[in-house]
Symmetry: C2
Subunit: 247 residues, 2 copies
């Protein structure tokens, strides 16, 4: 088993027992409508680390609900650089875009072994049409995506490396801490490499490394082999809100 693999992928018996039902589009269905969903969905599927759900330019014929594991959404620039757009946790709804027939504009790669629930892409609009509640929920999810995107943009544009990384890790932790019962209140198991942080924040691995050392020495966070230890949440928050200049 991969060193980052703390939770082996597990498939729920049915939608009733689905661990992420409440956090994704499926929450729009009443308990007694779940059979409809079940009928609509293609299958469940398990994928190994490094597998791709889809790649830039492809026109996949599926849409995914992430059941367990982590998926990284990214783009490659003409220069060869990689930009990580999102680190998707269980509950994420992946592969949707406005014009479902268009080629994807980003790639989705498994950062751990992964379990997904698969929907057919071609007939997905039918589902949306038949169940307005699902479209309502989807709109909600995507509207939140916009906000998180804006947050990330603000982080990238407005903070230097140290504060940037601090804020990024803080958000990562908070976002998890909402839906999850973190076994340990202040640590998070996540297949996060320094390179990934760098690619998410537009900073070199080498520099990320120095920043992480700094954060560790300040006893704020430490990242070690797939475990993120949040040592001082308040301190992190203070750091990331710090003025770099006095206006």
């Amino acid at each position: 088993m991969n060193k980052y693999q703390r939770e082996p992928p597990h498939l729920p018996k049915d939608c009733h027992h689905c661990p992420v039902r409440e956090s994704t589009v499926c929450s729009a269905m009443r308990e007694d409508q779940l059979a409809l969903l079940e009928a609509f969905k293609t299958c469940d599927r398990i994928l190994p680390v490094r597998a791709h759900l889809y790649r830039t330019g492809e026109r996949p014929h599926e849409i995914y609900n992430l059941l367990s594991g982590w998926v990284t959404l990214y783009r490659i620039l003409p220069s060869g650089k990689r930009q990580v757009l999102e680190i998707a946790a269980p509950g994420a709804f992946l592969g949707y875009q406005a014009r479902l027939g268009d080629p994807m504009l980003h790639s989705a790669e498994c950062s751990s072994d992964v379990a997904v629930c698969v929907f057919p892409r071609r007939t997905f609009p039918v589902l949306l049409e038949q169940h307005p509640a699902i479209r309502r929920k989807l709109l909600e999810l995507i509207a939140d995506d916009v906000v998180r995107g804006q947050d990330q943009l603000t982080n990238m544009g407005g903070r230097f490396g140290l504060e940037r990384v601090a804020y990024f890790l803080l958000q990562l932790h908070l976002h998890q801490h909402r839906r999850r019962d973190a076994s340990d209140e202040n640590s998070l198991n996540i297949p996060l490499t320094q390179e990934m942080i760098g690619d998410a924040l537009g900073i070199t691995v080498v520099h990320i490394n120095r920043i992480l050392r700094d954060l560790r020495e300040r006893r704020l966070v430490s990242l070690h082999r797939g475990t993120l230890h949040m040592l001082d949440l308040e301190g992190l928050r203070r750091l990331s809100e710090e003025s770099q200049r006095v206006p």
Copy 2:
């Protein structure tokens, strides 16, 4: 009249004559349904430069359709820095968010004199409920927002100043060139200051200035008093796709 003000704000007689009808949520209504929209909307309104549609933290009671002029969406960081999230052109749908009652997470300021079409916020969900086509269109618009956000993120994370600005201006021009009949094929009137570019791209005004000089001397673009001259689109594209390193 403000120096940047090339087009005085003008209010359409009714929805039938609305110049942006096709590019916003209203396009979801059939010609014969426009009366319903008309009945629902609160009013049209004209706002002067520097006026705000709404500010961070407020719970506005309206939603807007931008009819003419430019609106800048931005956030302020704890450090005092400003991050420009979007430069909204006519046709933009402003002020919507998943939970309409929540406080806004960004501010919207008029960069020119502006005309907006105003919808009531409180009853907006009713409109969505009664006309699924509008929700469908809104979902589409917002899904596109996500993509443009990802694009911006990629630009910020993956490019240095020169290429970053080049790409930004190129996108700005292309995005306009789609919906507009640009009188002059290769120039764009827009109340864009160097400071705005800087705040959008996370670069200091001073540095933006040097970059713009560079771009001007390479005869790629020039920005002068509210007019953006695209001198060499192909060259810009090449520059922004340039590898900084040879992988």
